[in-house]
Amino acid sequence: MNQPIDFIYRHFSDIEKDDMEYIYRGEITPVIVMDILDFAKNNLAKAEDTKKLKTRIYYIMGEGLQNITRHQADSSDGDTDKEAIIVIHKKARKYIIATGNLMLKSEEAALRRKLEYINHLDASGLKEFSQKIRNDTKITAKGGASLGLIEMAKRSGNKLDYLIQSVDENLSYFYLTTEIETSGTNEQKSQEGGYSIKQLIEDHENFNKNNYTLSFKGDFNQENLLSLLSILKSGMNETPTRIKLYAVMVELLQNIVKHADNIDGTADWRAGVFYICESEENFALLAGNYIRKKYSEALAERINRLNAMDYKALTKEYNKILLNSEANDPVSTGLGFIDIRRKTGTQIEFSMREVNSDTDFFIIKTTVNKIN
């Protein structure tokens, strides 16, 4: 497997209940923005924070994402490294919305000035400035003036952390992170991990290097699964490739929803991690979760057995399970894996890593070749 399990595990191992991280890299359209906001809403709905805080987070996310659709520069050279990136990160009591997008170098100085000005204002200064801009009828052609950024600073209660990197003579890449103030003492908060500009750049480089277009780490449930699927649908036209990708994704994700174990033995949530990678020839889907050691060997054996089968043998096996009314749980019978093998025609790769004496971390990777 190309993606090293240790790397994925390192980013996954600190996950706790109600934590989540969602990263999307690609073209940001208003439809994608709506899907991502829906996704965030689903996750927020379950968190224990107050309604007021949820509204604030949702608002800041909306501003941050719309900021990209309004201000991103078009590279139009098809280089995916230049596409925008969106990160929604929640760890303990910290919510961070992070974005990265291409911008015109000619607009860099003005943006820096704007951000520095916003960052030097205190709460009342921001309020005043926001009102002044609102009353000003001169709105830039791209809309919003700098109101989006002002509102993000005002509502988050934190400075806007940013970095602008040069891409070429005409373009720059603009990274921005906003941490949202939540309840809890300062001492508690300082002990909790955040999400820095440095991490954002690291993730962006990692996404570029591995051709990731989407990743999700958190509680796998039916709502999150449906949101992830809807992002796939919005991001691609309906083609034979997307139809296959959708089907494989459902089986992989439902496998986690139904069968992932948690390291601490709790059963009210399912920790998992999921990546989509896209290359010119194919899509690769990676799914990882904890599994009790006593099941690891049987699972590995089952996948190896299916990998050794040709299409005819897989179909025979599929029909056998389908018609066996005793075997009612298709996941434990391996029907999902057989379906994936049949639909993709490719091998299911997997890798295991010991976590402790009774738990392994297990990742599987399936490849869906693009159909022209």
Partner: protein, 128 residues
Amino acid sequence: MEPLIKEATVDTPKVVLDAEKGIFMLAQMSLPEDAVDFYTPVINWITEYARNPNEKTVFDMKLDYFNTASSKQLIQILLLLQSLKDRSEVSINWYYKEIDEDMQTIGEEYSQIIDLPFTLIPIPKKDK
């Protein structure tokens, strides 16, 4: 017999089972969290219908997608329909999107497993 009608959701199909009007249909998406739970009333309805079926039963399978958990339930439905063929003229219309070769393949395979007349009906891609 009371009809069984369910509107589609993002992960469950539209269900129309109406003996009086002679409409038997599943449509759209089927990837429920608990497939057994969702399909139990459907299977119960067909079991009840099988006691005194119409002369003719044309079942329209118009699912855009179903997951493997649903496939187990769909096979149960098809087997039930097969079991009433000496009392009713049963046939299956299997709709699939023209570009969806997997759904076409599944239709072909089910028509081999189930001893009922299957008509495979491609739906042309909609022009935008």
